[in-house]
């Protein structure tokens, strides 16, 4: 795992150094794509936004790539304090420009930490990141050899990614850290809360795109997964709206006093769903089932408010025929 990543990292490192050397006099104003970032967004720009806000102490939550409420208030505070005209939580051109001017963003390092699934912070001034207080010219520090050496190593090491680990563990035998670094790893460890040892780090290479995702209020990804399994097991081969309708029925049952109040309670109610009783629910759902569940949670209900459905070809209960039917989608008849 680590091996594979080493080469690109070294290249990146070289590129960074070269970049730093050649671009010294200029502002590091790259970063942030063109888009306006608004609450609810996810992705690289949000990671950058959160990192930059954290750098100057406006945001002390987790950098997870989700424009959450916490991020929203941080943006607003920033906009207010930096005298921007619009204090609206919309990160547009002006806000971005101001952020870029006021902060540093070490993308390689942040990304690395995210991919490793670690807790970390990105405060300026108190980390390996930029030990110098003067914000406008952190690069100069790197260039200057004597006391700049430590910071430079710090600056380089993070993008490389292994640095934090290496610094913690093999510090003694590794020749690389100079005496000046002695206090640096500690600082790093302390500031980051970066205590986890090797194994957990290696297990968690999956969080490629940040560590969090948006979930609809009141639902966990696991609830969604469970529902997706139920929908997939019950509605494989049904039209898409039929699958959304199945998910909607589960949700309608939560609201209905006659049914249990939890998703799992409804799904696992004995005899409630055929595919649960015969174990098909343990199949891995496809992407479409998951999307259907999300649509249902987000408010789409093709079932017309139904709390029951059945397949008329296989239904055996007379009682189920006696209920008022709403509509038929694919093989299923939905009803109240």
């Amino acid at each position: 795992m680590r091996r594979k990543h080493l080469l690109p990292k070294i290249l990146l490192l070289i590129a960074l150094i070269v970049g730093v050397v050649t671009v010294i006099p200029e502002q590091p104003s790259e970063g942030f794509s063109e888009q306006i970032i608004q609450k609810g967004a996810t992705g690289d720009d949000v990671v950058e936004l959160q990192s930059r806000l954290q750098y100057i102490g406006f945001f002390d939550g987790t950098i997870d790539g989700v424009y959450s409420w916490e991020t929203y208030w941080a943006v607003r505070n920033f906009q207010e304090e930096f005298g921007l005209e619009e204090v609206d939580g919309l990160v547009g051109e002006k806000t971005k420009e101001m952020l870029v001017r006021a902060t540093e963003y070490d993308e390689g390092w942040v990304r690395e930490q995210l991919n490793q699934g670690r807790d970390f912070t990105h405060y300026g001034g108190q980390e390996r990141q930029t030990p110098s207080e003067d914000e406008q010219a952190p690069q100069e520090g790197e260039q200057a050899p004597p006391e700049g050496e430590a910071p430079q190593e710090g600056e380089q090491a993070p993008p490389e990614g292994e640095a934090p680990q290496e610094e913690q563990e093999p510090v003694p035998e590794d020749g690389e850290p100079a005496p000046g670094e002695a206090q640096q790893p500690e600082e790093g460890e302390g500031a980051e809360g970066d205590v986890p040892e090797e194994p957990p780090q290696e297990e968690a290479p999956e969080g490629e795109q940040g560590e969090a995702v948006n979930v609809p209020g009141g639902f966990s990804q696991n609830d969604i997964q469970l529902m997706a399994q139920a929908v997939y097991a019950e509605g494989r081969g049904e039209p898409y709206n039929g699958q959304v309708a199945i998910a909607a029925v589960i949700l309608n049952r939560i609201e209905d006093p006659e049914f249990p109040d939890t998703i799992s309670g409804i799904i696992f109610e004995p005899l409630a769903f055929e595919a649960v009783d015969d174990g098909q629910i343990y199949m891995e759902p496809d992407e479409q089932a998951r999307e259907a569940v999300m649509d249902a949670i987000n408010g789409w209900d093709p079932s017309g408010g139904a709390t029951y459905y059945f397949n008329p070809d296989t239904a055996t209960s007379d009682w189920i025929w006696s209920r008022p039917q709403i509509k038929r989608i694919g093989k299923h008849i939905f009803m109240n």
Partner: protein, 446 residues
């Protein structure tokens, strides 16, 4: 030759013995599993009988109580017992047995107990009507108790197994079974209990059977076909199927589903007026190319084109490749949360791939008036929230409260430490209608 034959015999014999042992073990395992499943059912059922018994007892005790200090905890207890009893029911294989009236009955008792226990019985003791109702509840729960205990006795003395009941139900065999017959008795009794109609204010709206009439001319299937064709700009080659809803539907609608080369779509259109209430288009999505913000602009444009021009976006969320936006009706600077519209935008190219405006259209048609006036000043509202809440934003909003009524509130957004809360303060009396913790992201578990 003979030796070979013997060898064959021996091999076969060993095989047969092996098969027998294997079969025996399988049988044992299967029985063990069956017993476990049966035990679960038995526990749920015996718990249920016990709880209904306790419930009946508690109701009787309340009837004999005088001090409100005693009544309140009893009511809370009743509420707890009913919800446990409901949980027991949901663990039994009763989905195919009509048992919903009994569940509803239990639920209503719980609801009633909950409401009375939270309302402060010191100032507002049980009224005569409520006492009388409790008396009826006592009789009715006693009846259920007796029926359940009878079934329980039969289960115990005759060794009736719930697994058999389950198999019987699943295969729809003729139901000559003591459990099922007993439960049917319970259910038919519960059906006759109308104690709760109107008396406790469990209004019809709350049970979801609201009458809705949509204005407009009745559309024929042909006209709807036309509407869909225009709306989604379908070519002639695309397949379009239109069906009508049955009697169970709240309002009569047409459902359209269509397939074109790239996508599968479905839409709901009211029979009266031909309003497109809801649609979803499903196709393969590429990676997100445009921002959530651009998606919002697309959504706003769409709503504008559809003449929903008095709406305000209240929430936007990006789920990987799609953006979902919630809009609500805005009237005189008041947000009407019950009138919601959701729009789903594909973030690969900005196409609208979903819309649902059911709530908006329904409420638009049924709302008598929108005249809400706050009597509480904006600053006064802040006095009614928790003092540690740092209020950041404030606006007027109409929400549906716990009783299912629409009330005008001040919506306050604020934080306590890193957590964001939304508090709705009644704009007339300052009552804290609802407090929500706002959270919309979750770490990825790995």
């Amino acid at each position: 030759m003979g030796a070979l034959r013997w060898i064959v015999y021996i091999v076969l014999l060993v095989g047969v013995i092996g098969a027998l042992i294997w079969g025996y073990q399988e049988q044992q395992e299967k029985n063990a599993v069956l017993v476990k499943a049966e035990n679960n059912y038995q526990r749920a059922f015996h718990d249920l009988s016990y709880r209904v018994d306790t419930l009946n007892e508690k109701i009787d005790t309340v009837l004999a109580m005088n001090a409100p200090d005693n009544v309140s905890p009893q009511m809370t207890d009743i509420w707890k017992i009913t919800s446990e009893a409901k949980a027991d029911v949901s663990q039994l294989p009763l989905t195919l047995v009509p048992f919903n009236k009994t569940e509803e009955f239990l639920n209503n008792i719980g609801e009633f107990a909950y409401r009375t226990s939270i309302r402060g019985l010191d100032d507002d003791p049980l009224s005569d009507d409520e006492i009388e109702m409790l008396g009826q509840l006592s009789d009715q729960s006693n009846e259920i108790r007796r029926d359940l205990r009878t079934i329980q006795h039969e289960v115990l003395s005759d060794g009736v197994r719930w697994m058999d009941v389950e198999v019987m139900l699943a295969t729809n065999e003729p139901r000559e079974d003591s459990i099922i017959n007993g439960l049917q008795t319970v259910e038919s009794n519960a059906e006759s209990y109308d104690t709760f109609d109107e008396e406790v204010g469990l209004s019809a709206a709350e049970r979801g059977d609201r009458e809705i009439e949509i204005e407009g001319e009745e559309q024929t299937e042909e006209e709807v076909r036309e509407i869909i064709h225009d709306y989604f700009e379908l070519g002639d080659e695309s397949e379009l199927v239109i069906t009508e809803t049955g009697e169970g539907s709240v309002i009569p609608m047409y459902n359209a589903s269509f397939d074109t080369e790239e996508l599968h779509g479905y839409a709901e259109i009211t029979r009266e007026g031909g309003h497109v209430l809801s649609y979803l288009l499903s196709r393969d999505l590429d990676d997100a190319n445009i921002s959530l913000h651009d998606g919002m602009n697309e959504a706003e444009q769409l709503l504008d084109d559809l003449d929903f021009d008095d709406v305000e976006m209240v929430e936007s969320i990006q789920y990987d490749k799609v953006g979902v936006y919630e809009f609500v009706h805005e009237h005189d600077d008041i947000l009407f949360y019950p009138d919601g519209i959701q729009v789903k935008v594909a973030l690969d190219n900005g196409d609208i791939i979903g819309l649902t405006a059911k709530d908006y259209v329904f409420n638009e048609q049924t709302r008598a008036d929108r005249e809400f006036e706050p009597t509480l000043e904006e600053v006064e509202a802040e006095e009614h929230v928790n003092q540690s809440l740092d209020v950041r934003e404030q606006r007027l909003a109409v929400i549906e409260n716990d009783l299912g009524e629409e009330v005008l509130t001040y919506e306050l957004l604020g934080t306590i430490d890193a957590t964001t809360y939304r508090v709705f303060i009644n704009a007339e009396d300052g009552f804290e209608e609802r407090v929500e913790r706002l959270k919309q992201s979750e770490e990825v578990y790995s």
